[in-house]
């Protein structure tokens, strides 16, 4: 396992709810990341974020980690949940609220 993969695995394990995104929760640098933050905030979730723009290793590595080509990526309790489209679908159906309440 490369260094980046190991660091990602640690981040996902150490945080019940973690969003890999472009920018920060306060200043998202991409519309999709911004949408992901808006959803988490709306649900009142307590979450960690990782700004992939600050770390090229993680930025590339996160795509291989879950075989998912885009950012943001949400992980809950170590499991990959999806990107912002899936988050939006799960938000609208109420599934995301349920999932976050277990974390």
């Amino acid at each position: 396992m490369s260094d980046a993969q190991a660091r990602i695995a640690d981040l996902v394990k150490a945080n019940d709810i973690v969003l890999f995104m472009k920018g920060t929760a306060l200043f998202p640098q991409c519309g999709f990341s911004s949408r992901a933050i808006a959803i988490l905030d709306r649900l009142g979730a307590t979450y960690e974020t990782v700004d992939v723009l600050q770390d090229p290793g993680i930025r590339q590595g996160i795509k291989a980690f879950s075989d998912w080509p885009t950012i943001p990526q949400l992980y809950v309790k170590g499991e990959f949940v999806g990107g912002s489209d899936i988050m939006m679908e799960m938000f609208e159906s109420g599934e995301l609220k349920e999932l976050l309440e277990t974390a």
């Binding site: 075989d67 998912w68 080509p69 885009t70 999806g82 899936i86 679908e89």
Partner: protein, 82 residues
């Protein structure tokens, strides 16, 4: 390099022949798209797997020249009711 909507549709249909594909150019700039892909082959797959199948069809271009593709996937209604 932006991708044409017709090329996105062709790549998805090449990989998922029964797919019903609707593509919308969100900003009119050939760079921000929304796609809805409906296919019987998605039956029984998680949302993540369905999206991964579409990304696989785009052969690595998603996340590179294709930055913005809002994706929605579904199984055709008749498949669900069967």
């Amino acid at each position: 390099m932006p991708m044409a909507a017709s090329e996105i549709e062709r790549m998805i249909k090449d990989a998922i022949p029964d797919a019903d594909v609707i593509i919308r150019d969100l900003a009119g700039d050939g760079d921000h798209y929304a796609a809805r892909v409906v296919s019987g082959s998605f039956a029984g797959m998680s949302r993540i797997k369905q999206h991964q199948a579409v990304y696989a069809a785009l052969k690595g271009r998603m996340g590179e020249e294709l930055h913005a593709l809002q994706l929605e996937t579904a199984v055709p209604q008749e498949t669900i009711s069967e």
